[in-house]
């Protein structure tokens, strides 16, 4: 029997505002525990919520880049539940008049293009974070994240495979990072995803029992959890060994399985009601068009620019626009080296491989683009050769050294003095008579060996082009 998996996604994205949703505390990630906390976001009585206009603007942006309708009068509601990370005992969210509705994004998988419909996007506040067993037997709470603004992007149940889910999340990340809505870092929790999943017999139009999977912290976890959960549903349907119930399940990364989060007894009734402390907010046509006009260049627009105006290849352009960070590094480096092809080569060849060696993601690369540009220029103008250039780049990446003084202090300047190089070439050839005779016998491969030897004798500083021509001349003389 063939089965079809049906999934819908709820994606939480932290908005890139400087301050929190309802107070002026910093919303920055990575502060000391409870550093960014005031009476309001600690849930103390007497403070009244002051709505952050920037958060509303970013909510509108999120809607614009996902083709949503923007709601003209938005309201906020209170969602009640007790949990120690929720300082007031209620979360301020939008139930009745969410900021965006009825959007869609295009995704691309091996099967081709597909449209994923977005039901709604709403703004809400984040909760704090519990730290367990920092002191033995007790839990501590950190309210830094409490009241940081989020949008929750709710899709329609349009997904049929884990591949589509991943493509959608990557698309959202691209849209939202390029539009400056969020930095969308799953590892820092600024992008989180819950998957609603059900399974039905292929061809059926009735949906199966739905479960919701939470605690998914990486794309890898999402794929594994979907595979696990789909398999669990199918086995249950086939063998009847387990009755499927509508419930919330958590993903256990270590065990590689999902488990039921709470029993029915605890089924929460959130007792939503309109928040009387926040008056309805009217969103004017003018404001929307102002935001639309100020949208930064999105990934697909940038791709067009790179391929059409700058003449980069499809492959290079895709890679550069796959990450907002890489794309910014490209633009900033271009300010120093106006040679798109060369900058692209350095990013895709050298910077990407260094990033891999350092075990980092593209989004985590931090590099001084002026220094990066200087290295490219030094290679371009033959001050250093490419091999040295890559080494210097590695040092800039790791230790942020100054490339020019480093090259000068360590005498890494390229050697292109032909008399000097000729002597080295002759020396190498006379030291390796065996290889010379192999060359004479027609073995071309030894050329690489000679090059390596010459580079070693010059500490890698020789101009490869000069060496190559001298070497070939000498070898041909010997023939």
């Amino acid at each position: 029997m063939d089965y079809e998996i049906v999934m819908g996604l709820e994606v939480h994205v932290e908005l890139a505002t400087k301050s929190k949703l309802f107070c002026s505390c910093s919303a920055e990630f990575g502060a000391e525990a409870n550093e960014n906390v005031c009476p309001a976001c600690a849930g103390m009585p007497g403070m009244l919520p002051l709505l952050n206009k920037k958060a509303v603007e970013l909510g509108i942006r999120a809607g614009l880049v996902t083709n949503c309708e923007i709601t003209r009068t938005i309201t906020f509601d209170k969602k009640n539940y007790f949990y120690p990370d929720l300082p007031t005992g209620y979360q301020i969210t939008q139930l009745y008049a969410p900021i965006c509705r009825n959007g869609h994004v295009e995704i691309e998988t091996e099967a081709g293009k597909k449209r994923i419909r977005i039901k709604q996007i709403h703004i809400e506040e984040d909760a704090g974070k519990l730290v367990h067993d920092y002191l033995p037997g007790s839990s501590l709470v950190d309210f830094n994240r409490a009241s940081v603004p989020l949008v929750e992007i709710v899709s329609q149940p349009d997904f049929r495979s884990a591949e589509e889910v991943v493509a959608y999340l990557e698309k959202l990340r691209s849209l939202l990072t390029f539009a400056d809505v969020s930095d969308c870092r799953m590892q820092e929790g600024s992008m989180r995803c819950d998957v609603n999943i059900s399974v039905r017999k292929a061809g059926s139009d009735k949906l199966g029992v739905r479960t919701e999977i939470k605690n998914l912290n990486s794309l890898k976890a999402i794929v594994r959890a979907i595979e696990y959960e789909a398999e669990r549903h199918i086995t249950a349907l086939e063998t009847g060994c387990e009755e499927l119930v509508q419930e919330t399940r958590r993903w256990d990364e270590n065990k590689g399985e999902t488990y039921s989060m709470r029993d029915k007894e605890d089924a929460t009734d959130y007792r939503y009601f309109p928040n009387p402390e926040i008056l309805p907010v009217h969103i004017s046509d003018e404001w929307i068009s102002e935001i639309r006009n100020s949208l930064p260049e999105l990934a697909h627009e940038k791709y067009e620019r790179l391929t059409q105006s700058l003449g980069l290849s499809d492959y290079d352009s895709r890679l550069i626009t796959s990450s907002r960070n890489i794309s910014d590094i490209f633009d900033r480096t271009m300010e120093y080296v106006n040679n798109p092809k060369e900058v692209a080569n350095w990013i895709i060849g050298d910077l990407a491989s260094i990033t891999k060696e350092e075990n980092k993601a593209y989004d985590e690369i931090v590099i001084d683009c002026e220094k990066f540009g200087k290295i490219i220029k030094m290679v371009e103008s033959k001050v250093i050769n490419r091999t040295i250039g890559k080494k210097v780049l590695q040092l800039v990446f790791r230790d942020d050294i100054d490339p020019e003084s480093y090259v000068r202090d360590n005498k890494l300047g390229m050697i292109s003095d032909s008399g000097y190089l000729e002597n080295i070439v002759k020396e190498v050839l006379s030291e390796n008579e065996k290889s010379v005779s192999e060359f004479k016998a027609g073995n071309q491969k030894v050329i690489g060996f000679f090059m390596g030897q010459i580079m070693r004798k010059t500490q890698g500083k020789a101009d490869p082009a000069s060496v190559n021509s001298i070497l070939m001349r000498e070898l041909n003389n010997l023939r």
């Binding site: 849930g43 709505l51 209170k78 007790f82 005992g89 009734d269 402390e277």
Partner: protein, 375 residues
């Protein structure tokens, strides 16, 4: 008179001093909202009204006792406990006292003690620094012996506050008694339920103006609507008191749920518990539409009705108590102003009696004028 209602701050001169109900914050001072739950709560901030009164040269006399979180208490005896704000002004320890009279208790007790109570238009006075009870109805008002002092004080505290986005944009208001003859509506359906003395006072008082009988629609459900909506909001506003962060925490507990239940069982009084339970009930999935939403709809109808009434009248006159002393039924008398965010003034008349006048939003000056006799 029981003096326990008042905690003196320092030796303020009564003629220039104000008192605050203990749900209004003074930075660095204890603010308990009359609840064990906040028995140790030191205010991290200062209410805007306090800043403004101090800036205007007034002196803080001290804090006054209130019913727990100023909620509409209907449990036995609650209604009879004297409001600290009323007591302090009646005793002459301060010129005015500020409080949040959601329940209407002060609106009844002030005239009974020979005092006025001014309940301003919702949105004219900042609630920053007021411990919230019913956010859509909370409004800081003024107890005073002399109506001029009351409006003087209101002039000092009213006006937009950037810390309270529900305040109107007006920076300040000029309060002065309006002159002329006033059209006063006497809701006969309400008067049917009032005692004879109140009726007499009302006809006497209104008789000095252009009085006309009218009907206050939906009066029969005012108490229900009031209680349902306030329980929902109170339950929500007090869910932050959970023993985790500040305020009272139960001594011994086993696990998180026990911490919550024990803390809240020990920390809240009977009226708060009742309201929390009712609040959870009216907002629950199964009852939301029938209770909360329906009440919101009626509230809107009452507002529309108020607009209609105030196209014909400058003020509606109401008794301050019903024949039936049941505190729940009596809530209806104060619900009109509270539910609709309208200004009202309770006026002392005769011996321990009085009436209340309700006007259109931002029309305090008509009330002031009527109090001053009109013409």
């Amino acid at each position: 008179m029981d003096r326990e209602f008042f905690v003196s701050k320092h030796d303020a001169k009564a003629e220039n001093a104000f008192a605050l109900d203990d749900n209004i914050m003074v930075r660095g001072g204890l603010t308990t909202a009359g609840s064990k739950m906040l028995h140790n709560f030191i205010s991290p901030l200062q209410a805007t009204v306090v800043d403004r009164l101090l800036a205007a040269g007034m002196e803080l006399a001290g804090k006054t006792k209130l019913d727990e979180f100023a909620v509409p208490g209907i449990s036995e005896g609650t209604c009879d406990i004297l409001s600290g704000a009323v007591g302090a002004v009646a005793e002459g320890v301060c010129k005015v006292a500020l409080c949040n009279d959601v329940s209407g208790k002060v609106r009844r007790q002030a005239p009974q003690n020979g005092l006025y109570y001014i309940h301003p238009t919702y949105g004219s006075v900042s609630r920053f620094g007021l411990i919230p009870a019913v956010s859509s109805m909370d409004q800081i008002g003024i107890v005073c012996k002399n109506i001029d002092d009351g409006f003087d004080t209101l002039g000092m505290i009213a006006g937009h506050d950037e810390n309270d986005i529900t305040t109107f944009p007006e920076k300040s208001y000029a309060y002065a008694p309006k002159e002329g003859k006033f059209r006063i509506g006497i809701p006969s359906n309400v008067l049917e339920e009032a005692d004879e003395k109140s009726k007499e006072l009302i006809y006497d008082f209104a008789g000095k103006h252009d009085a006309e009988e009218t009907e206050l629609k939906y009066f029969e459900v005012f108490s229900q609507v009031m209680y349902i909506l306030s329980s929902a909001e109170i339950g929500n506003n007090t869910s932050r008191y959970d023993g985790v962060k500040f305020g009272y925490r139960a001594d011994k507990f086993t696990g998180l749920n026990n911490l919550y239940t024990k803390t809240r069982t020990e920390g809240f009084g009977p009226d708060m518990k009742l309201l929390s339970v009712v609040g959870a009930y009216v907002l629950s999935k199964d009852n939301y539409e029938a209770c909360y939403l329906k009440s919101m709809k009626i509230r809107r109808l009452i507002r529309e009705h108020a607009n209609e009434l105030f196209s014909r009248f400058d003020a509606i006159i109401l008794p301050i108590k019903l024949k039936d002393p049941d505190p729940y039924k009596n809530l209806a008398l104060y619900a009109f102003a509270t539910l609709c965010g309208l200004p009202s003034v309770s006026v002392p008349l005769g011996r321990n009696e009085g009436i209340q006048l309700v006007a259109q939003a931002k029309n305090e000056n008509s009330l002031f004028g009527i109090c001053k006799g009109g013409r």
